[in-house]
């Protein structure tokens, strides 16, 4: 038993001794490193060392939380937290924290990611791979990010455990011309099989193909989504399947349980698996994190829950706590039976989109939204890319687009990117019919 876990448990005991009904303490020792680059050179390299314990307690259904650093001021902090609970308000919907003793899978974190040698080298590997595609006119930027977390969790309700979580991500956007760019990522939980050059090559290929873009035309298109941009869509569906999003009507899935929301080829899961950048063995209540299928062959099977939302929906927690809001860890779309090339062959006249940003909704409950594709927008005619385009916007509906999925590729990629393709996902190429495209006038 480690000292950190003992001290985390001690916090729980302390809060219980002061009268708390239920307590969870979670200590994270995090080491995060990031190399940022632009114009093909390193701009800055960043390190964050984080020593934090999150403490949540409930007293007579009053839920309060705090954070301490480096186990400093535990007694005073817990005392203050109890005082806060006593003047706070009851949450009648609070269903308690997860109860029971659980066995967790062994974490498979890669200790090499505590401090990698020569992080800049990974960046240059990606840049050089992109340069091979583009030539010396290349302009590129991005990040290399690594994470290593030791996590210690103790709960008055039974759960106690440790986890180690590691991740590495390389994101590169390469420009072949001012308005011809490609973006790709390489994401993993370990260094094994991590190939920055793969991201560089793909970003470079897209950028090269994107040269000499023309302003596209408005209309309704069949669209092939690259795994990176579809990762953004999966992030939207992952948020909307959180029970919290459903409760506040920021979801198209309100009152849709058991109903068909997509064609039969669509199966979506949340799975904090070993390969994922957001791998974990338990959630923030100490409940085992696990695979949850939420759309099964087009039918909405369930929402993602913590213990409280599960009780409200008369079901079991799915291991996705969040103190307040359950959240997806790592989304997966099941592979289809076509390969990428066959998806293109299916497309008589359509678009191939590779990345997007600035997704905003008019109405989450209805699903009306728009988003702005970037980094390679291509016209596809008779299965072939015939023209690079620019300055287009998807202006459509999230539920309609899920319903219009026509084909899914066998190939899938683990993707994560900044604010858009988040949380990480295992994302295929996806063909969606009848997507509404608009542009500036």
């Amino acid at each position: 038993m480690s000292d950190a876990l003992n001290r985390t448990e001690e916090i729980v005991r302390k809060a219980k001794s002061l009268g708390a009904d239920e307590v969870i303490a979670q200590t994270t020792f995090g080491r995060y490193r990031q190399v940022r680059f632009s114009n093909n050179e390193i701009d800055t390299t960043v390190a964050w060392n984080d020593y934090a314990t999150d403490i949540a307690l409930a007293w007579k259904k009053r839920v309060v939380a705090t954070k301490i650093h480096n186990f400093e001021g535990v007694d005073a902090t817990v005392k203050r937290l109890m005082e806060l609970a006593k003047v706070s308000k009851e949450n009648p919907m609070f269903g308690g924290f997860a109860k029971g003793k659980f066995k967790y899978a062994s974490p498979k974190a890669d200790k090499k990611l505590i401090e990698i040698d020569d992080p800049q080298g990974y960046v240059f590997e990606a840049v050089e791979a992109a340069r091979k595609e583009i030539g010396n006119d290349i302009d590129s930027g991005g990040i290399l990010f690594t994470k290593f977390e030791d996590v210690y969790l103790a709960s008055s309700e039974g759960p106690i455990g440790t986890d180690s979580r590691s991740a590495i991500e390389l994101s590169i956007r390469a420009f072949a011309e001012r308005e011809a760019s490609g973006h790709s990522v390489e994401c993993s939980s370990t260094l094994k099989g991590f190939k920055p050059a793969r991201a560089g090559t793909k970003a470079g290929e897209i950028a090269r193909m994107a040269k000499n873009p023309k302003i596209g035309e408005e209309g309704v298109y069949d669209v092939i989504f690259d795994p990176l941009i579809y990762g953004s869509s999966l992030g939207v569906y992952g948020w909307m399947v959180s029970a919290f999003a459903v409760l506040i009507h920021m979801s198209v899935f309100v009152d849709k349980l058991g109903k068909k929301v997509a064609p039969e080829i669509v199966t979506l899961r949340d799975n904090p698996a070993e390969y994922s950048m957001s791998n974990r063995v338990f959630d923030d209540e100490g409940y085992p994190a696990k695979e949850n299928m939420f759309i099964d062959h087009g039918v909405l099977k369930g929402y993602l829950h913590n213990t409280s939302t599960a009780k409200m929906f008369k079901t079991e927690t799915t291991g996705n706590a969040g103190l307040v809001a359950p959240s997806a860890w790592n989304l997966e779309m099941d592979a289809g039976d076509m390969n990428k090339d066959e998806l293109f062959e299916e497309t008589k006249r359509g678009l191939y989109l590779t990345n997007t940003w600035y997704t905003r909704f008019q109405n989450y409950a209805k699903g009306d939204f728009s988003t702005i594709p970037r980094d390679g927008i291509f016209l596809v005619e008779k299965g072939k890319i015939t023209q690079s385009l620019k300055d287009l916007r998807i202006s459509d509906n999230a539920l309609a687009m899920l319903g219009n999925v026509a084909a899914i590729s066998k190939e899938r990629q683990h993707v994560h990117w900044w604010g858009e393709a988040d949380p990480p996902s295992l994302s295929p190429y996806v063909l969606v019919k009848n997507v509404h495209i608009t542009k500036s006038r």
């Binding site: 632009s38 390193i42 960043v46 390190a47 964050w48 020569d118 800049q120 930027g141 600035y358």
Partner: protein, 472 residues
């Protein structure tokens, strides 16, 4: 916050061969309330405290932070930052524009100190809002409300001899409501923000604004009609003016984007050296004067010195329709051969300061709102917006109206359901032919940086009138 350790970190960094070093300690007392449908889900109260160093050495930058307040840890992060800076191996060496050292202290006053407001009072304020909202005669399907309080103490020192201490209380609130009428839904969010004390809560008129929004959403459902697409005049309310100023003036004028530093995330800018737009280029009509000003007292984006120790001032971004001045930090200023204009901001001790807006708004004209509308034969008055976005070069943008009305022969008619303007930056600002007198501000959280740094800002302006733009 232990200022001695921050001083120690700087001294330890200066003993190395650095071109520039800074250390910043930051302690934030944070309160967070989250209410769902009027029920307090959780009350979070914590102190987030740590320090960072940033080093420029061998033409490269290293940054490291920690929340372990020990000298050993200070040495470790300085060593890391120094090693990272040296390892950058840049051909094009980064330089920082030099400033004179400043020793000062600045604080934002509170009329009603947040520290003296009990948790019960804060909770009660939010519960009352929800009661008012849910009894306003409109069917509210769901609400989500949150309150963010940050009492931010900073201690900044650098190798130029600067020593700046500051204290800023930031008060923010956010609401999201869903109205359901006749089997249809409409949604709206509203954000409030202030630098100062709890007195803001009474000034915001939160309940009134949310009730107004609820009634508007009901009207959109029950009375709203789609506009017949075509060229027409568009009068934008201050909220729409403000978001357009922020998105299509403030962001493209951030010099770090212009030099490419943000190319893979927030993107670049339609303004770049050798391109069609640069300082001195016409971008709008003579009525388009947009400033960014951190010095507006009690504004959400207020600061007296930026996070590189540079004194804040108003920046004229577009002046009389001409591109005038970029937003700079020391790095971008050195790169483009100018001086920093104090645009370097960060959200916490563990984030690098980058170029940010503060309070971006269109300067007022001399007409009244009524006069703007009176002169419109056929058009739309878009008072507020719902969905919006802009591409990463900040050229193609879209605003969808939330509260909007048809204008016929100078008079407001029925509500218009979700009118849309989707146009380019020069088309938008060139179409402006009149600006009203009264400036209003809205609080917003501007997103940028990797990892994301959501930073408090105001957006704002008066009503502006655009002639003959395509609205659908």
């Amino acid at each position: 916050m232990d200022e001695d350790i921050v001083d120690f970190a700087l001294k330890y960094a200066e003993d190395k061969k650095v071109e520039y070093a800074e250390a910043r300690g930051q302690s934030q007392i944070q309160d967070r309330l989250m209410l769902r449908n009027g029920i307090l889900e959780a009350y979070t109260s914590a102190v987030d405290s740590g320090f960072c160093v940033r080093i420029l050495a061998n033409g490269g930058i290293g940054f490291a932070s920690t929340n372990k307040w020990t000298k050993e840890e200070a040495k470790e992060i300085v060593d890391l930052a120094f090693r990272y800076a040296k390892a950058s191996g840049r051909k094009d060496k980064i330089k920082f524009e030099k400033e004179k050292g400043v020793e000062t202290k600045w604080v934002v006053d509170q009329k009603k100190k947040i520290e003296n407001v009990s948790p019960e009072e804060k909770i009660s304020a939010f519960e009352e809002i929800n009661k008012t909202l849910t009894s306003c005669g409109v069917k509210i399907a769901a609400t989500m409300g949150s309150c963010n309080i940050d009492l931010i103490s900073k201690y900044f020192v650098n190798s130029e001899g600067s020593k700046i201490t500051s204290f800023v209380p930031k008060l923010g609130a956010f609401f999201y409501i869903t109205v359901a009428e006749e089997g249809k839904t409409e949604q709206a969010y509203e954000q409030f923000g202030y630098s100062g004390g709890w007195e803001a809560f009474g000034q915001w008129g939160v309940a009134e604004k949310l009730v107004h929004n609820a009634k508007i959403l009901k009207d959109v459902i029950t009375k709203g009609k789609a506009v017949k697409a075509g060229n027409m005049d568009l009068v934008c309310g201050p909220e729409v003016t403000g978001i357009a100023a922020h998105e299509s003036c403030g962001h493209p004028m951030e010099a770090d984007r212009i030099v490419g530093r943000e190319m893979s995330q927030a993107g670049r800018s339609f303004i770049y050296k050798g391109g069609p737009y640069w300082i001195g280029t016409k971008i709008g009509s003579k009525h388009a004067t947009i400033v960014d000003d951190p010095t507006i007292e009690h504004s959400y984006g207020y600061y007296a010195y930026d996070d590189e120790g540079v004194k804040a001032r108003r920046r004229f971004l577009y002046k009389d329709g001409v591109i005038n001045e970029f937003l700079h930090n020391r790095e971008s200023a050195a790169k483009l051969g100018t001086k920093s204009n104090a645009s370097s901001r960060t959200v916490n001790y563990d984030r690098e300061a980058i170029v940010r807006m503060a309070n971006t708004f269109v300067l007022p004209g001399d007409m009244t709102e009524e006069e703007l509308i009176e002169e419109v034969k056929h058009g739309v008055f878009m008072k507020s917006f719902t969905e919006w976005n802009i591409d990463d070069k900040r050229f193609n943008q879209r605003y969808v109206g939330r509260e909007a009305y048809l204008i016929e022969n100078g008079e407001l008619k029925h509500p218009v359901a979700r009118p849309i303007i989707e146009t380019t930056t020069p088309k938008f600002w060139t179409a402006v032919d009149a600006v009203s007198k009264k400036v209003e501000f809205d609080a917003a959280t501007c997103g940028k940086g990797d990892p994301g740094q959501g930073i408090p800002v105001f957006t704002g302006g008066p009503c502006i009138r655009l002639r003959e733009v395509y609205v659908k």
